[in-house]
């Protein structure tokens, strides 16, 4: 399979992908391990909190975004990881029954000054629910290998 390399990401490009159905079971399983707060653990207890009902941990939503990114482009790319995340905004609660997808905007792309074999691509990701509302946004760069000489473009 042809891999996506640094050269395959064009600033201004917007693509949409992914489809995860959020379940109460998944929300609670993540929360029990990583974020055991009442509004992530139990429907009844959640009603008495600011959240007004069971909502996914923001870290769970970030994990679901990562999963959709892996399944839909990173794992058919020459990605070499990310040094960090500039910002995440949790805008709307994610609740059981929501269906999530991703809208990805390529903001900029530049070769790495320190590692000439790598390029740095800056993205904005929006996690959309079934109503098209952004529940979370995330801005970060991802490192990609540059296309080896002699390989044609993917796509």
């Amino acid at each position: 399979m042809d891999l996506l390399y640094f050269e395959d990401f064009t600033p201004g490009e917007i693509v949409q992908y992914g489809d995860i159905e959020v379940t109460g079971g998944r929300i609670k399983a993540f929360a029990e391990q990583f974020d055991p707060q009442p509004f992530h653990l139990d429907e009844t207890a959640a009603r008495d909190t600011m959240a007004g009902g069971l909502i996914a941990s923001g870290w769970h939503t970030a994990g679901m975004l990562m999963r959709m990114n892996c399944d839909n482009f990173l794992n058919r790319s020459a990605a070499q990881g990310a040094p960090g995340i500039a910002e995440v905004n949790w805008l709307k609660p994610v609740r059981p029954g929501d269906r999530l997808s991703v809208r990805r905007t390529t903001v900029s792309a530049r070769p790495s000054a320190s590692r000439p074999e790598l390029g740095i691509v800056d993205f904005t990701f929006e996690v959309l629910n079934q109503l098209g509302e952004a529940t979370m946004t995330q801005k970060n760069v991802i490192l990609f290998s540059r296309r080896p000489a002699g390989e044609g473009a993917a796509r």
Binding site: M50, A82, I85, E87
Partner: protein, 158 residues
């Protein structure tokens, strides 16, 4: 430990505890949330720029969250045992400037800590906003993780 917004003081630093990342834990997280080759197997790690299996940065972050909640719950239980009124739990609108400056590998023990950076009131009189810089340091003293959390804390009834 202080539990209301008014108790948060810039510069206050607390240890959150430590976690040892196992091969099994790293892979179990990656299978569900970050299935990239260098998080899934030793072979995948060797073929990457990291040279070995490494933990997902989101795993490193999620463990930090768990330690934060555990610490807060212990403090709340201690205050409740003294008969004190506990604040409502606040939510977080997001975070800023998360960094993974060095990999977390199987067997690494990461010690996390949190330092209050800013406090400010919000338009909602019940809630104040507190930012903190949270870091994780490995057993060799190298920083492997950092981020700035933004969390609402309930204010004391005025």
């Amino acid at each position: 430990m202080s539990l209301f917004y008014e108790d948060q003081r810039i510069g206050d630093t607390k240890a959150l505890g430590a976690h040892t990342f196992t091969r099994e834990g790293i892979i179990a997280f990656a299978v569900l949330y970050d299935p990239q080759p260098f998080h899934l197997s030793e072979e995948g790690g060797k073929a990457s720029i990291y040279g070995s299996l490494i933990a997902s940065g989101w795993h490193t972050a999620s463990i930090c969250m768990r330690l934060m909640i555990d610490g807060r719950d212990r403090a709340r239980a201690a205050r409740a045992a003294l008969g004190e009124v506990l604040p409502q739990l606040g939510v977080s609108p997001g975070f800023r400037d998360m960094r993974w400056p060095a990999p977390v590998r199987a067997g690494d023990t990461i010690a996390y800590s949190s330092r209050v950076e800013t406090v400010r009131e919000t338009k909602r009189p019940q809630w104040g906003l507190v930012t903190a810089r949270n870091i994780g340091v490995n057993q060799h003293g190298a920083e492997v993780f950092a981020f700035t959390s933004i969390v609402l804390w309930e204010r004391r009834a005025g």
